[in-house]
Symmetry: C2
Subunit: 250 residues, 2 copies
């Protein structure tokens, strides 16, 4: 998070726009007719490329745009009462900035964990298109509602779970996300430090490491650095959906 800036990436085919985007079915463009999608792609700013540690926007910066993650991984940090929280981890397909619509300033800082590419949706222009395309507005609202409920639930679940169960929840969420974007659900690189995973899950880095070690000993997965290979999704899911504690007898 040392330098800020938005560097245009020359490598993306820009002429084709949203129509040919591999994320189409997940982006807000979902369910739009081709001619409607074209309308959308006209307002999409040229793709942004961020290098590791580069900042997309800072807390308190004026709100201008939503961003869709095409590739890479970003983190969102919020400072409140001089306490820093890791409030989100963004993977491909996520829409960043939904928590800022209607506000003047971004409530948090978003930065890249490794090289990332994003689509920028200037909100003013998006608003204009939504005026003409109510379907698009509903689509965005649905995305927002879903993520609100999703996030609330996943955090709520974590609250009453042990470290083991929290890690399982986290890894499965990441796996699921990659899966739906067409990547492997069992083998991925997650460029997040143990420390960051810890503050995202409310654990210490030591506990995160130890838990991964335990998993590895049980042949649930293999980790080398930040490269994860899930070996037994079924057992991980069992771990994630139990609280990890002894059953309270009725």
């Amino acid at each position: 998070m040392t330098s800020r800036g938005k560097y245009v990436y020359g490598g993306l085919e820009s002429g084709t726009g949203c129509l040919s985007c591999y994320l189409n079915a997940l982006c807000i463009a979902e369910e739009l007719l081709p001619e409607e999608t074209l309308l959308l792609s006209e307002i999409v700013a040229p793709p942004i490329r961020l290098e590791k540690r580069q900042v997309l926007y800072r807390q308190e910066a004026p709100f201008t745009s939503l961003y869709v993650v095409r590739t890479g991984c970003l983190k969102q940090e919020t400072v409140v009462e001089s306490e820093q929280l890791l409030t989100a981890i963004w993977l491909p397909g996520s829409i960043i900035g939904c928590d800022t619509i209607g506000l003047e300033h971004y409530p948090s800082t978003v930065s890249a964990l490794d090289t990332a590419t994003l689509c920028e949706l200037p909100f003013e222009r998006l608003e204009a298109v939504m005026q003409r395309l109510p379907k698009l507005r509903r689509r965005l609202q649905r995305t927002i509602s879903r993520s609100m409920q999703q996030e609330r639930m996943s955090l709520q679940r974590l609250l009453s779970r042990t470290a083991e169960a929290r890690m399982a929840c986290f890894l499965l969420a990441v796996s699921d996300c990659f899966h739906r974007r067409g990547y492997s659900p069992t083998h991925f690189r997650l460029p997040v430090s143990r420390n960051d995973i810890g503050s995202y899950l409310g654990l210490t880095q030591e506990t995160v490491g130890r838990t991964l070690a335990t998993y590895q000993a049980q042949r649930l997965l293999r980790v080398t650095g930040r490269d994860y290979q899930l070996l037994d999704l079924v057992r991980l899911e069992r771990l994630a959906s139990s609280t990890g504690r002894r059953q309270k007898r009725p």
Copy 2:
């Protein structure tokens, strides 16, 4: 949560509508001109009165309306993978249903914890008014964004806190909410069982009770049943903003 239904409350002055509502400054009506507020009050359905345990809507029921809490207290429960989570506690001034806009069905069940009165905003009609009043749309979006970020942060904070700190966070949030609605911030009835507080905070009922007892011994507050009297907000805030754990030395 035994019986369902929406019973019209005869006791609210209905002719005056939003203009005279004591919540005006907090409801989405904020910042609207009088004539605009009138437009809004025309679509507000007659006030709803719910008795203790009555259900406002059930999970999977078709989405029809947003609701504003006028008085009383409600809880939101979500069942996912046969696990029941207490995902929200709604106090006066809250808008219920923001997590459902754009979706077909409510993602959770909301029921009254004691007698409650609510304003119903049928969403179809609200949408029509927002079409004519962009200001109102922005107002609603701002509310949604704010609550998204707020909720995310407060849950995130809880994750890395001890039972003592979690309880302090919770009580202060409630206190703040009542305060902003014009009630006393230090003396209120919170008709939520220890068990429900526990599942909301990710603690057991025993821990909730013990923590309250500890607080009482330290003259931080007085509790009798579900009646709370906060005696030292400053010290409570200190408790809430520290994690409750020993400081890790740098």
